[in-house]
């Protein structure tokens, strides 16, 4: 009956199977590459059928309802590695973070002649890179010592910073990202801000490094000139 159940791929993609057939098909699907490939392409077709429907806008309160329901339901299935809280290491890290932020605030930067910034990132490449980092189950999330958001660091040191509530940079200015190892800041990219920014961190972020953001003149500078607006805990 292989051919018969294979044919159910269409009915499954259209949600036209009754409950028993749906279950039987799903059991079959788990072990059938051919059906999985067909199903993936049939789902593209049914998504097109969805787009073919012209309908009215949903009421504005639907968006609020969905977001409120999401807020009320903290995710509990996120399989990312979390560090245990309040180990001695963590306390030491927190102290180091505060020290690092204080050092930045005092302008105690070692001047770095490195970190020359290339041309603006190709957006697609940058995004692909960001996507691979934030979706990497082995990546870990580092909270921020200053500012709102989080830093996501892949095992190979590539990182993405997600920053909330950073106003769009004023004209003639830009936000500049820094990776700080010890007291040495290295340039790690520019961005314009906005209510929610997803910023790929250029280069890699090593253990105990801090990622920080300052407001600088357009085009960026080689060493930070102002106090950080955002700074991560040490990685």
């Amino acid at each position: 009956m292989e051919a018969g159940i294979h044919e159910l791929t269409a009915g499954y993609a259209l949600d036209a199977l009754d409950a028993e057939e749906r279950q039987a098909y799903e059991e079959h699907l788990a072990g059938c590459d051919r059906c999985r490939d067909d199903l993936a392409s049939f789902w593209e077709v049914t998504a097109s059928l969805a787009l073919a429907v012209a309908g009215p806008e949903p009421g504005g309160e639907l968006r609020d309802r969905i977001l409120a329901a999401a807020r009320a339901e903290p995710q509990n299935v996120v399989p990312f590695v979390r560090r245990p809280a309040f180990t001695p290491v963590r306390i030491a890290s927190a102290v180091a973070a505060i020290a690092a932020v204080a050092a930045i605030a005092l302008g105690a930067w070692a001047v770095s002649l490195h970190g020359r910034l290339g041309d603006a990132n190709d957006r697609v490449a940058a995004e692909r890179s960001s996507l691979s980092i934030v979706s990497d189950p082995a990546a870990h999330t580092v909270s921020l010592a200053k500012g709102h958001g989080q830093l996501v660091v892949a095992p190979d040191g590539r990182a993405v910073m997600v920053v909330d509530d950073l106003a769009t940079a004023p004209s003639g200015k830009t936000y500049e990202v820094w990776v700080i190892k010890g007291t040495t800041p290295t340039r790690a990219g520019l961005f314009h801000g906005g209510t929610h920014s997803v910023v790929p961190v250029e280069g890699t972020v090593g253990k105990d490094a801090v990622v920080a953001v300052t407001l600088e003149r357009a085009g960026g500078v080689d060493a930070p000139t102002s106090a950080p607006l955002v700074a991560s805990q040490p990685v």
């Binding site: 018969g4 044919e7 791929t9 269409a10 009915g11 259209l14 949600d15 036209a16 199977l17 009754d18 993936a40 392409s41 049939f42 789902w43 593209e44 077709v45 049914t46 998504a47 097109s48 059928l49 969805a50 787009l51 073919a52 429907v53 012209a54 309908g55 009215p56 806008e57 949903p58 009421g59 639907l62 968006r63 309802r65 969905i66 977001l67 999401a70 807020r71 339901e73 995710q75 299935v77 996120v78 990312f80 957006r123 995004e127 960001s130 996507l131 934030v134 979706s135 189950p137 999330t141 989080q150 996501v152 769009t168 961005f191 801000g193 906005g194 209510t195 929610h196 997803v198 910023v199």
Partner: protein, 198 residues
């Protein structure tokens, strides 16, 4: 220019949702919500039920985004698939499916007329799919439209159309396979990259 999420693909947004990012969920809703609601309304024919279907689908996105694999499917496809599944389950539970005549009103074209703010891409895509549907043999189009937009199961359709169940199954498979070809042929770009209203 609301924020930097506007630059991200739907797949990247889902990855952020998997990290508990609520603004990414909001951004996904802003891009796909209208299409999702239109689809649910087409199946359910009731505003409140359609909203329920969309809400439940987006909460499923919220809960299970970590399991989504961008290699296997596009994010919009995944979301619309969740919405459709939910809408069909609801319509079957509510027994709301109307006994409509078997003519063109089973299709997408009798839905509300496009509004002015529909972007050009969506209108283009809609016409492309409707053209492809029109090129299907009548019996195949009928089976697909009644199943997808009407929420009928294959068994229900066999009974309704007075055909053997095996015929309906073959018809649906042949119809979807043909539609896949027609849509592939008419794709002007290599990739399917919707820019929903935002």
């Amino acid at each position: 220019m609301r924020n930097q999420l506007a630059h991200l693909s739907e797949e990247a947004l889902v990855a952020l949702v998997a990290r508990g990012d609520q603004s990414a969920l909001a951004a996904l809703y802003d891009r796909v919500g209208r299409t999702a609601f239109g689809l649910a309304l087409r199946v359910l024919r009731d505003d409140r039920l359609a909203e329920d279907a969309v809400q439940e689908a987006f909460l499923t996105v919220w809960r299970t985004a970590a399991a989504f694999s961008a290699e296997r499917a596009k994010a919009t496809t995944w979301i619309l698939t969740l919405v459709h599944r939910r809408a069909v389950d609801l319509v079957r539970r509510e027994q709301r499916r109307r006994a409509e005549p078997l003519d063109d009103s089973g299709g997408a074209e009798d839905a509300a007329s496009p509004s002015a703010e529909d972007d050009a891409w969506l209108q283009f895509e809609r016409e492309r799919v409707q053209n492809a549907l029109r090129q299907l043999p009548d019996t195949q189009r009928e089976a697909i439209e009644l199943a997808y937009y009407g929420g009928f199961t294959q068994s229900e359709l066999a009974e309704r159309l007075g055909e053997p169940l095996g015929t309906i199954k073959s018809r649906m498979f042949a119809g979807l396979a043909r539609l896949r070809e027609l849509l592939d042929d008419s794709t002007t770009e290599g990739s399917w990259k919707p820019e929903f209203t935002n």
